[in-house]
């Protein structure tokens, strides 16, 4: 990047000066200052809970800072609400999508836009503008699709279109890529570059340092609420950023031994799953997973991976097929029961941890027994054995470095990464014979990713059969011994782990996906 040195000379589009924010006793932002030059892409990295989202939410007016100043194009402005921010041209794509899932794309688009009281003209205008934007940035989307029916990739496109439609000059994206496939990420970055070319200033939060290196001009690092470093991207590298974030050296590669597969632990034959609307989501799928190997399932999200996992875990009945595991056979006539499967040694890390994997309102210790609540070890006669569970929870928290290590904290009070660690601890610590894992590191910081990957490999080496579903190609390639590619409910290819590379896999997924370009349905 030749213009790297110029970046610092450009006038700042936004300046945050001495932003301070407390949530109760938690000091989320400590006198944070940040300047982002106009027309550049600025990255923010930091561990889970470092205060990145808080800082950006303050810039967007969602939270109010306790102290500090926000300047846009050099003038201090008061940002008391998102309305003020939007008026100043600041818009944000939030970490958790801010979409109304029962609305269509178009309706979501016009939600925040001012204008007459009748809806029809506004929708008409939005439709035209949407087509134009889609054209200009390659952000195609069906304006009449109901958002709840869309896969995450297109959903995020809606979020970006929302901001563009409102005429954002400064666009904040909070972990936009954590839910995207590489192809989708690439398209997002193309959009960001196009925006940059038109003078839009972009702030990008991500945990993936590769992406920081790829797209940003400058980058800031946050740790424990404070801003610890600003760097010009071209003048730094992943290792030093990782060290700045975590405060220690983080090895970025995994040393993985060759697998020593044993007996078949999980056998799937002719499995089909049909959803509530009668659409076939999994179509005649068959494969085997052996003890001591990791089988990865790659694919663009929404191609049946979720339904496959749900069916294997006994959560979803299926009209066709047969699943053999630990001496039981699940068939349409004999549907499995998740509780029973668990006692036979099946563990399941669900894709959607807050949706399926935990009860948000429960304290951590209660979620650590979810699914295993009938285990005699957790009860005395009829009453549950609280001390035992608390001790168990504390042990798991220590082993998996869950922060804060407080078993009594409500689960939704943990960051997503730490929630994930809780779920993983719960499922892995039972020494299962078969482990189903969906998106194990979605939205998790690099320190934690490293830990989770190591743990999964250790499980494999201990003889567990692991079925890993992930949209992160990098992750699949790093972990899986065999990789199956799923497309439209079918398995369209298999690649050995050591020979796989991003190009072949991407091609497999892309070739197959040709007819379904934007993934929206």
């Amino acid at each position: 990047m030749s213009q790297a040195a110029d970046v610092a000379l450009l006038p700042p589009a936004i300046e945050l000066v001495g932003i301070d924010k407390r949530f109760g006793a938690v000091h989320a932002n400590r006198a944070v200052s940040l300047a982002v030059a106009a027309g550049t892409i600025h990255g923010i990295v930091g561990e889970n809970g470092a205060g990145k989202s808080t800082l950006m939410n303050i810039l967007h007016g969602f939270y109010q800072a306790d102290a500090g100043e926000i300047r846009v194009d050099g003038t201090a402005i008061a940002v008391r609400s998102p309305e003020d921010a939007i008026r100043a041209g600041i818009d944000m794509v939030h970490q958790h999508f801010m979409l109304v899932s029962t609305f269509t794309v178009l309706e979501n688009l016009v939600l925040g836009v001012k204008g007459g009281w009748r809806l029809a003209p506004a929708l008409g205008r939005a439709r035209r503008e949407l087509l134009r934007l889609a054209d200009e940035f390659g952000l195609e989307i069906d304006p009449d699709a109901v958002v709840g029916d869309l896969p995450v990739g297109p959903r995020q496109r809606v979020e970006i279109l929302k901001a563009l439609y409102r005429g954002a000059r400064i666009l904040i994206l909070d972990e936009p890529t954590s839910v995207l496939t590489p192809a989708e990420t690439a398209r997002l970055f193309a959009v960001l570059r196009a925006l940059k070319a038109r003078g839009v200033t972009v702030v990008l939060i991500t945990h993936k340092l590769r992406e920081i290196m790829e797209i940003t001009d400058t980058v800031s690092v946050m740790r424990q609420g404070a801003m610890v470093a600003h760097r010009v991207t071209a003048e730094t590298d992943r290792e030093s950023l990782a060290e700045l974030m975590v405060g220690r050296k983080v090895p970025l590669g995994l040393d993985k031994q060759a697998a020593r597969p044993g007996d078949v632990a999980l056998a799937v034959r002719g499995l089909s799953v049909v959803d509530d609307l009668g659409v076939t989501r999994v179509d005649d799928v068959g494969f085997e997973v052996r003890a001591g190997e990791i089988v990865g399932i790659a694919g663009v999200s929404g191609n049946g991976q979720s339904e496959l996992l749900a069916a294997l875990a006994g959560m979803e009945p299926f009209p066709q097929g047969e699943v053999r595991f630990a001496g039981t056979v699940m068939t349409p006539a004999l549907p499995g029961d998740p509780g029973d499967l668990r006692t036979r040694g099946l563990a399941h890390v669900p894709e959607d941890r807050l949706g399926d994997g935990v009860v948000g309102a429960f304290p951590a210790w209660e979620n650590v027994i979810l699914g295993y609540h009938d285990d005699p070890a957790y009860r005395r006669v009829v009453l549950i054995d609280r001390p035992a569970i608390l001790a168990d929870c504390a042990a798991k928290m220590a082993k998996y470095d869950v922060r804060p290590a407080d078993p009594h904290l409500a689960t939704h009070g943990f960051s997503g990464g730490n929630q994930q660690k809780l779920v993983i601890a719960r499922e892995l610590e039972r020494a299962p014979s078969v482990l189903l894992v969906g998106q194990p590191t979605r939205g998790v910081d690099i320190g934690a990713i490293e830990f989770i990957h190591k743990t999964l490999l250790a499980m494999r080496d201990a003889g567990c059969a692991v079925l890993l579903v992930s949209v992160e190609l990098e992750e699949i390639m790093a972990l899986a011994d065999r990789i199956l590619v799923m497309f439209e409910g079918r398995i369209v290819g298999e690649v050995a782990g050591e020979t796989a590379d991003e190009r072949t896999l991407g091609l497999l997924m892309a070739n197959a996906a040709e007819g379904d370009g934007d993934g929206s349905r």
Binding site: V26, D374, I384
Partner: protein, 370 residues
């Protein structure tokens, strides 16, 4: 955030509720003043009438017993994510169970067995009345709020029919059954205390208070200390997670509604076996609805429900005393005061909380978790 709480616990748990209560009384006082009575005197009469003498305490506790049962019923259902508005009907039918059982057996069996039968009958009848809405919710998706409202009306029609046509004491004007044999009367508190040589004034307070307190303990154990309660809370907290955990939400919903109905049915135990000693119309007197407020004010926790029930019991009894002593204060004005208490202590409980807690906040520990 729990960790960040810097104000002492008593401020949140004692002071704030007291201030809210005072506020409710302040507004009530203005109304009392407006009708030309002395508000201070009214407060004195109200408080004295609620807790000032043995009989008053007896009545307060007697009302609290009913409200506890009804509140527990609402709370248990709430933990499974169900809004059971049908406590009134379930209590009514629970009372029917007690009545029918005692009419059948009171001449033949001793009290302990009759008590056991009555507890079982009220629970079974109440549970049965809640089972249908529960079943329909779980298996047919019929919204439990509608069905329980409907079942309240149906319960009243059923009871009206049975009392007027079947159970009425022959030759009686009043649609009520015959009086049970005295052996089938749940001992009053004044009688029970009398066994131990403690003399207190008579009141309708009876041994079902003990059962209510036992139920509070049992509900607490059930909800927070057993895996059945765990299942209930998982279903209420996150239904997909329940499915993930191998818990069948439909079964839990049905079972929880039955438990809820059984608890509501115990209102019938207190009223029919404990106080009225006969089956009669309208003995539920709206306790099922007050139970909703008590449960929510008590945050669906048995301890909170006990406190809320005591508050409501005191208002019932003190309010009656107030209407008795001050001719210009009608029973409707007492209802107004009750409404204001629910408004300020329940719905507006967060109004002053932050400000009051801020006044007592200790400086936050340096360098909070970040």
């Amino acid at each position: 955030m729990a960790r960040g709480e810097a104000a002492p616990a008593w401020v949140g748990h004692v002071l704030v509720p007291l201030v809210n209560l005072a506020l409710a009384f302040l507004v009530s006082g203005l109304i009392v003043l407006a009708i030309g009575e002395d508000p201070l005197e009214a407060v004195v009469i109200l408080v004295r009438g609620a807790v000032g003498f043995e009989e008053a305490i007896g009545y307060t506790l007697y009302y609290a017993t009913n409200i506890m049962f009804a509140g527990l019923a609402v709370a248990v259902a709430f933990h499974a994510g169900l809004f059971n508005i049908g406590g009134e009907g379930q209590a009514y039918i629970g009372g029917l169970g007690v009545g029918v059982a005692l009419l059948a057996f009171d001449a033949h069996l001793p009290l302990p067995i009759l008590l056991l039968i009555s507890i079982l009958a009220s629970a079974a009848f109440g549970a049965a009345w809640a089972w249908i809405p529960g079943y329909l919710q779980a298996r047919r998706g019929s919204h439990v709020v509608i069905t329980t409202i409907m079942f309240n009306f149906i319960a009243f029609a059923l009871m009206n029919y049975l009392l007027v046509n079947v159970l009425i004491q022959p030759g009686q004007m009043s649609p009520q059954s015959r009086e049970f044999e005295p052996v089938a009367w749940l001992p009053f508190a004044h009688e029970a205390l009398g066994w131990f040589g403690i003399q207190v004034t008579r009141s309708p307070l009876n041994l079902s208070l003990l059962w209510a307190l036992a139920c509070c303990l049992l509900v607490w154990l059930l909800i927070w200390r057993t895996r059945w309660g765990y299942r209930i809370r998982v279903v209420g907290g996150n239904e997909p997670a329940a499915r993930y955990a191998g818990i069948d939400p439909a079964k839990v919903v049905i079972a929880t509604m039955c438990v809820s109905g059984a608890l509501a049915g115990f209102v019938g135990l207190n009223e029919i076996m404990g106080v009225q000693h006969r089956l009669l119309l309208n003995f539920t007197a709206g306790y099922g609805f007050v139970g909703i407020a008590a449960a929510l004010m008590g945050r669906n926790h048995p301890l909170g429900i006990i406190l809320a029930s005591l508050l409501f019991g005191a208002l019932y009894q003190g309010g009656a005393e107030l209407a008795f002593e001050m001719p210009r204060i009608t029973r409707e004005l007492v209802v107004v005061i009750q409404g204001l208490v629910i408004l300020f202590s329940g719905a507006l409980e967060h109004m002053l909380r932050p400000r009051i807690e801020a006044m007592f906040r200790r400086p936050a520990p340096a360098g909070g978790e970040g």
